[in-house]
Amino acid sequence: MSDTKSKVFRYLAYTIEIIIIFILNNTPDLLPMIYYAKPCLLICISLSIAVFEREIPSMVFGLLCGALIDLGFSNSIGLFTIALTILCFIIGYCSNNLLTANIITFLVCSLLVTAGLLSLNFYFSYTALGYADGAFYYKTHYISRIVQTFIFSIPFYFLNKFIYNTLSSDD
């Protein structure tokens, strides 16, 4: 398969994966709520793509995932779009130039990004607005969301590794 052709198929596969997961993740009662929260699967997908792809495609898929997350719950783009665009660019750059793309690197990135991003989201959507019992809400809802998102990132790492290896040019 030529390089251009393989890229087109690969990017198409990622796009379809993102749309399907967005729909399934948001379907009422499909994924059970564990400790009052569901995982944010689009974060897992964007990070696992960024580990394998170069910085520009990583950035584009980070942008797409971030925009879908933002539009899914707030009708306007914001924190997730901006943060995932930057973070996926950095991860894409680092995994190609500074680090080895393997499961350990990915898990470290995933844990840091998931915890940081969801905590930041909590700060902007709860603490900064002055609502009471923030620590309680973070403990009972957000820690569960962070842990579940982190755990779900593992299967997405292998899925996107499979897509990357299968749909890469043989050259």
């Binding site: 749309i19 967005f22 729909i23 399934l24 993740n25 948001n26 379907t27 009422p28 009662d29 499909l30 059970p32 709520m33 009052y36 929260a37 569901k38 995982p39 944010c40 699967l41 910085e55 520009i56 950035m59 942008l63 925009a67 879908l68 997350i69 539009l71 899914g72 719950f73 707030s74 009708n75 306007s76 783009i77 914001g78 779009t81 901006i82 665009t85 930057i86 660019f89 750059y93 989201n121 959507s125 709860y126 607005l129 609502y131 009471a132 019992d133 923030g134 309680f136 809400y137 009972t140 809802h141 969301r145």
Partner: protein, 283 residues
């Protein structure tokens, strides 16, 4: 490092970020923005299918219960198979509308738009959700969202085909309410500690309030945002907030908000916006 900051990639990143930030500022102030419309229009069909597929999902059934349900459904299926396919759609739609018939009969001035819960996002706090009706069905920001049991939330954002509903369990909610038995008034607002128990608070009560367990709380209709007399729920406890130095009642809505599948939006009612309009006129 210098090469990294001079690379084409970093220039592209900054250009994209600039566009994203501008779009973010632009879309934040729009009630009906094109990005949200585009995403919802693209995913609406698939979301409708998946939401419908899980509509009758009962996840905690045991084997015996499932077997009995299976046999029951098998018999029912045999009976229904003879009927026309179109009949199912009509029956479903009728059943959906029938739920709100009593509410409409009691309040003929309400314009009700029945709708289905389309999405529950992973980042939705306090069990907020997206419904399958938007501005094309006259749904507007601030409209009350109800079930036959009473009010369950309000519209935060509405685009062409979908709307975001904030529930009574959310800390964003501020609804003026009254205890009809004792005439005590207060504000319905969510609480982080109570939301998971499907409970909200009736706060800012006077120190000499006469609110008791079992009292039913309804909306006051003040300001004309929500109709008067919509049932919020039943008082399950009365407490004192040491931080706020005021009394509040714990109110439990009659619906299990976390698992709602069908709701209706009150898009029009007698007295809607009247006080707001008069307030604007005074200014």
């Amino acid at each position: 490092m210098k090469e990294f900051f001079k690379s084409t990639g970093i220039k592209i990143l900054f250009s994209v970020l600039l566009v994203v930030i501008m779009l973010s500022l632009f879309t934040n102030h729009l009630q009906n923005n094109f990005l949200s419309n585009a995403v919802n229009a693209t995913t609406y069909g698939l979301s409708s299918v998946t939401a419908a597929a899980t509509a009758d999902n009962r996840s905690n059934m045991g084997y015996e219960e499932l077997l009995s349900k299976y046999n029951e459904l098998k018999d029912e299926n045999t009976e229904l198979r003879a009927k026309l396919v179109d009949y199912y759609d009509t029956k479903t739609e009728n059943a959906r509308l029938w739920k709100f018939y009593d509410l409409k009969k009691e309040n003929p001035e309400y314009t009700l738009v029945p709708s289905t819960v389309l999405r529950r996002d992973a980042n939705d706090d306090f069990y907020s959700f997206t419904i399958d009706k938007g501005t094309s069905s006259n749904v507007q920001k601030g409209d009350a969202v109800v079930t036959p049991q009473g009010i369950i939330g309000w519209i935060k954002n509405a685009d062409v085909n979908t709307s975001k509903v904030i529930t009574l369990l959310s800390t964003q909610t501020r609804i003026s309410a009254i205890n009809n038995k004792s005439s005590d008034t207060g504000i319905i607002t969510g609480s982080a500690k109570l939301s998971e128990k499907n409970q909200t608070t009736f706060s800012k009560l006077k120190s000499d309030n006469k609110v008791e367990k079992g009292d039913i709380i309804t909306t006051t209709g003040i300001s004309g945002i929500y109709p008067k007399g919509l049932v919020v729920g039943e008082v399950v406890d009365v407490c004192y907030d040491t931080y706020d130095t005021s009394y509040y009642a714990v109110v439990e809505p009659y619906d299990e908000i976390k698992t709602l599948k069908e709701v209706a939006v009150i898009t029009n009612f007698t007295g809607q916006g009247e006080i707001l309009k008069s307030g604007e006129a005074d200014e």
